[in-house]
């Protein structure tokens, strides 16, 4: 009974650790791409004589890129804060090895609960930021792969650059999938730990009764 609980705890921490690491990597990608496109667009705006001005320059792209860069930065900062706590707990479990004594195990649970309570709001924000980052990157990927775009009352005309489309679309798809997966797993993680916090409230009634037992 104890081993399975311990093993389950260990596995959950490892899984969450992996998701957090993946988050940091992809948050870096979103931020880098956002900054890269922002700079590119800023240069295009500055160089009024550039021929590219009439093709891909757009304040909309600049706005999306800036939002992506900002979302990536917030995403990284949030992920790192969660990562530090989860890494410390994971290192402790790994250091203790296979057999974790009762009290050491309870201590790890209390630490994880405390870490979760501290970062509950951040995790909720991350669920939104992951989705926003993915959407921004998806939009940047689409817009970046366009060679020519013209929107007029008569309709929309666009040309795709075939050399750019494949890698950009692959990157876009990859990051969009990871963003959505992160968002999904963070939601699941939050749901499971929220339920545990709910269970603890029930336990507290019992613990309170135990403490009150020896009042006299």
């Amino acid at each position: 009974m104890h081993e399975s609980a311990c093993l389950r705890f260990r596995n959950e921490i490892r899984r969450f650790y992996l998701i957090t690491v993946a988050n940091i990597v992809f948050a870096g990608l979103v931020m880098a791409l956002g900054i890269s496109v922002s700079v590119q667009q800023a240069v295009l705006i500055y160089e009024l004589s550039s021929i590219a001005l009439y093709t891909t320059h757009s304040p909309v792209i600049l706005c999306i890129a800036l939002v992506a860069a900002l979302a990536g930065l917030v995403w990284i900062l949030s992920s790192i804060r969660i990562f530090e706590g989860i890494k410390a707990i994971k290192d402790d479990i790994d250091w203790k090895g296979g057999e974790v004594p009762d009290e050491a195990f309870t201590r790890l649970i209390v630490r994880m609960l405390s870490h979760y309570r501290d970062n509950r709001t951040i995790i909720r924000t991350m669920i939104l930021v992951c989705t926003l980052g993915g959407i921004c990157l998806f939009a940047l990927g689409i817009v970046g792969s366009l060679e020519y775009l013209s929107i007029s009352a008569g309709g929309i005309v666009f040309t795709l650059n075939t050399y750019l489309v494949v890698p950009l679309m692959l990157l876009t798809l990859g990051v969009a999938v990871v963003s959505l997966a992160s968002s999904f797993y963070f939601s699941r993680f939050a749901k499971v730990w929220d339920e545990r916090l709910g269970e603890i409230e029930v336990f507290e009634v019992l613990l309170k009764e135990t403490l009150e037992l020896y009042r006299e």
């Binding site: 309870t106 209390v110 405390s114 797993y185 309170k208 403490l211 020896y214």
Partner: protein, 91 residues
């Protein structure tokens, strides 16, 4: 241990730590409490007879009583139960 903990988690931590006699400073440092809250938690546990004060020269040290063992055992079993039963987080 730092971060947001419930009072019951702090009681458990103090009682486990005080299995061997501990000074007030040692307890507040280990359990990451300030002197005011430390005093409140220790006062409560002493009144409830989960802790006893032992004189060590001119200083006072705190030791868990046998009753504390029941609370610790109950706390351990309840918290372990969180991972014995559903829900669980999977990839």
């Amino acid at each position: 241990m730092s971060g947001r903990r419930t009072a019951f988690e702090i009681y458990w931590e103090i009682l486990v730590f005080c299995r061997t006699s501990q000074s007030f400073t040692g307890i507040v440092n280990r359990c990451n409490l300030n002197s005011k809250t430390g005093q409140e938690y220790l006062g409560f546990l002493v009144v409830k007879e989960y802790l006893v004060e032992v004189a060590d020269g001119d200083k006072i040290r705190y030791v868990s009583t046998e009753r504390a063992g029941e609370y610790i055992a109950l706390f351990n079993s309840l918290y372990r139960k969180l991972f014995d039963t559903a829900p669980r987080f999977k990839l």
